[in-house]
Amino acid sequence: MSVAEKLRGGLLLSTPAEGAGGRTGTWRVYRPVINYSKCTKCGICWLYCLRMLLSGLRIRTSGLTMTIARAVEYARMFALLRLLTWLRRGGWCE
């Protein structure tokens, strides 16, 4: 067997195949939906989900209510998260 043949088959070269997570190519087409019957209004979805961060206003108008204190706390964390993201992307150098 030649060196070139030995390199194939997991030794050095790999070819595309379905991974441990199955077919992942369609993961991003699903839209997150809030199940209001289970919602405790903790607001963690608003904090973590990029989509909701971008449209926080819409979430609020669609029925999610928070105490003012919690809203201020989240707003601070939101600002911090955005700052970290911005810094990681290079800050002013972007």
């Binding site: 030649s2 060196v3 070139a4 030995k6 390199l7 194939r8 997991g10 030794l11 050095l12 070269l13 790999s14 070819t15 595309p16």
Partner: protein, 406 residues
Amino acid sequence: MSRQISLARQVRKVLVGDHAVAEAVKLARVNVVSAYPITPQTLIVERISEMIEKGELKADYVRVESEFAALATVYGAAAGGARAFTATSSHGLFYMYEMLWWAAASRVPFVMAVVTRVVGPPWNIHDEHTDLLAIRDSGWIIGMAQNVQEAFDMTLTAFKISEDERVLLPVAVGLDGFILSHTAEPPLDVPSQEDVDAWLPPRNPRIPYTIEPGGEAITMGNLPGNDVYHALLKKYMDESMESAKKVIAEVYDEYAKLTGRRYGPLTECYRCSDAKYLAISMGAWSGDIMNAVDRLRDEGYPIGLLRIRYVRPFPEEDVTGWINGMKGVIVFDRDYSAGMGGGVLASEVSGFVPSNVSFEGVLAGIGGFDVSSDEFKAIMKEFIDKVEREGQVRIRKYWYIPKIER
């Protein structure tokens, strides 16, 4: 080494070592060159860029921001099927260190010239072999030339050796900084482009594999499912290193028919056949040691010189073969491994020296100071006299430090 010219078409040129390497790169019709300037290598890539500018060499010269990027560029070009070349020295070589391992284990063929130079501190641009020898575990084939002609020949043959299907490892061609790189040794015999073309056809870009846009969907060096694959990969590299010994011999055999110049192939032994003592060295100063050997012979000392041409694959068979029957072995190192036996070459050789054979490792020329033929003669004479006087001698390292004149 015989010097008869078998082909009338060779032309004689007067070139410094670096320009001779550039000439070999041109004759090899390299496709991609990338390098970052560093003394004493810079003349090579300056000359290549002039050749490309003038249209003498049709290649892409990629300007980069570092040696790491230079090696990554030629490694990528070689993985894409190109015949590629880079060159560096000392600190630049060490800046490539991570990539050296990736390039070798990726099994893509290409060539790098290493113009040897001291690694600081103190800041120093002179000749030492420590930089080249520090890459000896990485999987590169490593050669070391004795003169400008050999630096040229070693560069040209390196492409053939590297691209051989049984080898597929990158080749580093070492030449001593300034002593060869900036010194013209007339005359240099250069074969014609037609002869080189017939002997060295364009690289087959499909061997071992090609990474190209729109080509086969492959990933090189992905995280393997089982770590044992990694061990297998190293074992195959080891087997290819072993095959390389045979390939190097074959390539130099063909090259001798082309040019009339016959080399070792892995080593060359000078006045060894009737020797009782053996000196071992590599690189340019071997010429000075040969001169010292001649003068010692005139005085009746039975000594020969084994010159190492390739450090990797290590010429184990040659070394053990020549040491067999010797009374004493003396190794000259222009390099140093801290905390070990002393010189790198001495450490590598000492494992093959039987316990009943005298041994001395000499550290000389560290930092690039000049060691003359007279000094070599005195050191070797002292060693032989000591063995003859006292019997068995084992000196792992002897620091040869000349008096500093202020």
